[in-house]
């Protein structure tokens, strides 16, 4: 029993010190953002790696999720003779929830794990030490541009996911199941609320992007400088990002949609 408590105390302590390191790391990363601005090329390169390379997986997944929503929504709504609201249903599920959440999970798996592995390997092969010895701050030069790229990419990827998903729902709904195309779009336009749905969805994706990129970069930077350490860190990135995204989604949803 005592041993168990000791173990518990020890692991709590290590997770708190890790949280402390992560916070300190975040502060340094944020202060490094100022030196990214005068060097747009660094940012553009990272936008390409972090953002553009996630395009394909986001587009394809968005399309399928939208198509499934179209099918499921149709079966439910047609029971009530409300097929005309299919567009609204698909769009609000995507914009409020699935767009930000699923694209963030995919982002963590695709871009986040790649970031952790890249930074971890740079550490293991002494590239970060080398940069430091050349009097260049690795946080400013390596970490901050990647962080900003993740921050900027995530809302765009989420929007892309939702947009493609809405088209997927329409393809299934009107193309396959015979829902009136005009009704699909007009109900969506009439009932989707800019503030409640779209802005809140964007806020979610910004928060998720922030957290997922932070976790990915920190895990890489904090990894043990060995191949085993890097592979463990990569796993931790995916797991911790998924937990954080889903947990934060609950909190944000409760805050945003709770009082109406």
């Amino acid at each position: 029993m005592i041993q168990f408590l000791q173990g518990l105390g020890k692991s709590t302590r290590t997770s708190f010190t890790k949280l402390g390191r992560a916070t300190f790391f975040l502060l340094r990363t944020l202060s490094g953002l100022f030196s990214v601005l005068p060097r747009p090329r660094l940012l553009l390169n990272q936008l390409y790696f972090v953002g553009v390379l996630s395009f394909l997986i986001i587009t394809i997944s968005g399309l399928f999720v939208g198509m499934v929503l179209g099918l499921q929504g149709y079966y439910i709504l047609s029971d009530f003779g409300a097929e005309a609201s299919l567009g609204l249903m698909v769009a609000s599920s995507l914009v409020r929830e699935l767009g930000p959440v699923v694209s963030a999970l995919l982002f963590a798996g695709r871009a986040g794990s790649a970031l952790t592995a890249e930074i971890g390997l740079m550490k293991a092969t002494e590239q970060l030490s080398g940069i430091e010895m050349m009097a260049v701050d690795p946080i400013k030069r390596i970490i901050s541009p990647r962080f900003l790229a993740g921050l900027l990419s995530m809302p765009l990827l989420a929007a892309l996911f939702s947009a493609v998903g809405i088209i997927g729902g329409q393809l299934v709904g009107s193309g396959l199941l015979g829902v009136d195309e005009g009704a699909y779009w007009s109900q969506m336009q009439a009932k989707l609320d800019f503030q409640d749905d779209i802005i809140n969805g964007i806020i979610k994706s910004i928060v998720f992007g922030f957290v997922a990129t932070w976790i990915a970069l920190f895990e890489g930077y904090d990894a043990m400088p060995t191949s085993e350490g890097v592979s463990r860190a990569t796993t931790r990135t995916v797991v911790n990002s998924a937990f954080s995204i889903l947990g934060l989604d609950f909190i944000l949803t409760a805050l945003m949609f709770g009082d109406d």
């Binding site: 390997l121 010895m133 050349m134 009097a135 030069r141």
Partner: protein, 275 residues
């Protein structure tokens, strides 16, 4: 050795340095001096902490006790911006090369220039090609680090380390992985850099032969202590059994080839079962 004296012409002074990794004491109260304009070598068995010493000098690790001054400044008390200014004047050749893997050879050598100077691209081009020429890799400038052999990578790293014309270069094992020809060129290059640019060089190596050929002064470190020092001649003629063993490469002697372990027989046989 009188520890309070800082010899006038020493660029780097290590005073009463103690440093541990976990329970293992890597350095136990050692003091070293590295003279300006000279090539000083640090030799010692693998795992004695030679790389660690270079990282301490560069301010990447912090000593538990003692102080390290470089050009009169205490490395570990400098604020970050001044430490970075100091580092701009120090070139370091990492044991692994530490080239940036997402850049070509050319961009790697150009990296310090692009970060720290406002030179035009054509100036950078000239400087980079000059440095690559001196290590014999001008033709390899378009290759990526993953396409280089270990020895080539280290020569590129050397070109990068000297591109800012530093006052001092720290070489971590510059000779490992070099064939006899590039080895000869490297030895010559290090000597030439030192003479023409009036650099101070610190070489970490266990290549007894090459190092003795160019060093002005040698420290032999083992088990956290300085076990011998002097000019290459003095070292070679040293009566100390430590040094004799190291210079001749015998496996038995005061320096242990084996990492500390329990008795061999106890490790091989499960405890208590001696037949």
């Amino acid at each position: 050795m009188d520890n309070s004296v800082y010899p006038q012409n020493s660029l780097v002074s290590v005073r009463n340095l103690t440093f541990s990794r976990g329970d293992k004491k890597i350095f136990d109260d050692i003091s070293l001096d590295f003279e300006r304009g000279k090539i000083t070598a640090i030799m010692g068995p693998s795992g004695t902490g030679k790389t660690t010493l270079l990282k301490l000098i560069g301010g990447q690790l912090f000593p538990e006790q003692g102080a390290i001054t470089v050009d009169g400044e205490n490395v570990h008390q400098l604020p970050r911006s001044q430490l970075y200014n100091l580092r701009k004047r120090i070139g370091m050749l990492f044991q692994s090369g530490a080239l940036l893997t997402d850049m070509s050879v050319y961009d790697n050598v150009a990296f310090p220039l692009r970060e720290h100077t406002h030179l035009s691209e054509s100036m950078i081009h000239t400087l980079v090609l000059m440095r690559l020429q001196s290590v014999g890799l001008r033709g390899a400038r378009h290759l990526m680090p993953s396409q280089l052999s270990g020895g080539m990578a280290r020569r590129v790293a050397l070109a990068r380390a000297i591109v800012l014309d530093p006052m001092m270069i720290l070489y971590d094992e510059p000779f490992t992985g070099q064939d006899p020809i590039s080895m000869g060129v490297l030895v010559h290059l290090i000597k030439a850099l030192n003479n023409t640019l009036k650099l101070t060089s610190i070489i970490v190596s266990h290549d007894v032969h090459e190092t003795s050929a160019i060093a002005d002064y040698i420290y032999v470190i083992s088990d956290g202590k300085v076990v011998g020092q002097g000019s290459p001649k003095e070292i070679q003629n040293s009566a100390s059994p430590w040094i004799q063993q190291f210079m001749t490469g015998a496996a038995d002697g005061p320096v242990h080839f084996h990492y500390p372990a329990k008795a061999y027989i106890d490790d091989l046989l499960p405890s208590g079962k001696r037949y």
